[in-house]
Amino acid sequence: MGSVKAELLRLWKWPATWVLIGVWLVMTLTFGYVFNYLALNGGTNRGDLSQQQLISSMQPENVGAAVVRGLPMFGGAIVLVLAALAVGSGYGWGTWKTTLTAGPRRVSAMAGTLGALGIVVVVLVALTFVVDLGAAVAVASLEGWDWNLPGWAAVEALGAALLIAAMWTGFGVFLGVVTRGPALAVGLGLMWAIVTENLLRGVGSLLGPVESLTKVLPGGSAGNLAGAVGGAGAPGVLTDLSGTTAALFLVGYVVFFVGAATVLKVRRDLV
């Protein structure tokens, strides 16, 4: 418990935590509501979205989908950056050394970091939900739509959002431990989340086995889970796998990333 409290205290007071959460909230508002609202009111909508789809995406009852649709790619990248920075910076600042000589076992120290990051991720998803709901209600009121509060589907979507965010958090933690620094961890993570998987999807159209692989890679699994809970219409969201299959892959990734990072942390010398 002491380790979680300590990590939470330092993450809570870390400007980077709030900058990243703030950036994500601005992004989700901008791309989820502001642009859609402008498109609905005099924009030149020449894309795939019909007016009805635009209205539907901004309805308060669809807020769950709005929260989850951004996480497979951009939201995930932000969570990954936060986790990679939180773990990787400790090597440069020498705080891992201070942590590991304070008393807790290495496993407990790692669990403290993971627990605190988990709480931050829950806060991030909850804030996203609240901000999106506020925006959706504001748009619905401005437009004079009949609207309903989110139902059970939103709970399912929020659960999916948490699982997707947990996977990207685990990925960030894993990279932070492997590279023992923030810069390379963030660079590699962003490269993977935003570039590599998209490139592979491009290659997948030429090579069947690569296409199958891309569906179950971390970003692919996240995209498929988001797609399965109604989060369509955003970059990185896919509909190739069932929600259960995608969720199982994500659980597997969480176990692998967190487990591998913990084993490395416990076994490696801190020099």
Binding site: G2, S3, K5, A6, L9, R10, K13, W14, P15, W93, G94, T95, W96, K97, T98, T99, L100, T101, A102, G103, P104, R105, A109, G112, D269, L270, V271
Partner: protein, 286 residues
């Protein structure tokens, strides 16, 4: 014994960074761990704290295996400079550390006072001077009233005033009965503060004893005329150019002997090897 190691060894590939080091630190003493840069001091200390796993050999810290929570909670340490969150204040950094050690907030204020940092406790760590950072490191090490304090090069990078402050702090802690393992490459520092010394060179412990024992017996330097007559008169004296070296502590008796024999005594003074001379002798020979 508070710390004992038996043939403690750390190898990276073929290179032994620490080579069969057997040392012991007694309760209540300030133990100086002396050696040139790269001699293996920090690696040894990291092994005592469980940060680095030994390749072979054993170590015990307060009767526990190094790196276990039972051992670590009784040890406070500052290794190769303080490791704190730059965006947090000194006080918040200590609160984070206290939470990990299971120590209450009242201890934080007590240690801040002990290292004279209360006035700057609300400032961000990144704005601290090097001396303040080191003092905060010592404050963190003191949280939870540890039985053993391990300070690795605590005066590194400090200006002379900062070094003097740090030495005063260590002296004050020692006066309160705190056991301290102080690693340093600064001979004066060790000579000034430490009760016993372990000298490490190229990974091997080449000596372990009190500073006095390391320096050896006091020798009297005698300059007299005629020097040959003085040499004959004083048993066991050795002639070094125009002076004698005498293993004799009673300078008065020696002078009386020479004066009664009509020898002009020009100079008599104790000649002691400095720790520096001993150190270079040992580390050069290792």
């Amino acid at each position: 014994m508070i710390v004992t190691t038996e043939k403690l060894t750390k190898r990276y590939g073929d290179r032994a960074v620490v080579d069969e080091v057997s040392l012991s630190v007694r309760r209540g003493e300030v133990y100086g761990f002396l050696g040139p840069n790269g001699a293996g001091k920090t690696t040894t200390i990291r092994m005592l704290l469980g940060l680095v796993k030994p390749t072979s050999g054993t170590a015990e810290v307060l009767g526990e295996a190094p790196g276990t929570p039972r051992a670590l909670l009784k040890v406070g340490s500052l290794i190769e400079g303080p490791g704190f969150y730059p965006y947090l204040s000194g006080r918040d950094n200590l609160r984070v550390h206290a939470a990990r050690r299971g120590v209450t907030g009242t201890h934080v204020e007590a240690v801040l006072e002990q290292v004279d940092l209360v006035g700057a406790a609300s400032e961000k760590f990144r704005r601290y001077s090097l001396g303040m950072k080191q003092r905060l490191g010592v404050a963190a090490a003191l949280l939870g009233k540890p039985e053993l304090l391990i300070l690795d090069e605590p005066t590194n990078g400090l200006d002379p005033a900062g070094m003097a402050d740090m030495r005063d702090l260590v002296r004050a802690l020692a006066a309160q009965g705190q056991t301290v393992l102080l690693s340093s490459h600064l001979l004066g520092e060790v000579e000034e503060i430490c009760d016993r010394v372990g000298v490490i060179s190229r990974g091997r412990l080449v000596a372990e004893s009190t500073v006095e024992q390391l320096r050896g017996d006091t020798v009297l330097l005698v300059r007299a005329d005629p020097i040959e007559k003085a040499h004959v008169l004083i048993e066991g004296s050795t002639l070094h150019g125009d002076v004698l070296h005498v293993r004799e502590t009673d300078a008065g008796a020696l002078v009386r002997t020479l004066v009664h024999a009509d020898v002009d005594v020009q100079e008599v003074r104790p000649l002691r090897r400095t720790l520096e001379e001993v150190f270079f002798e040992m580390t050069g020979a290792a």
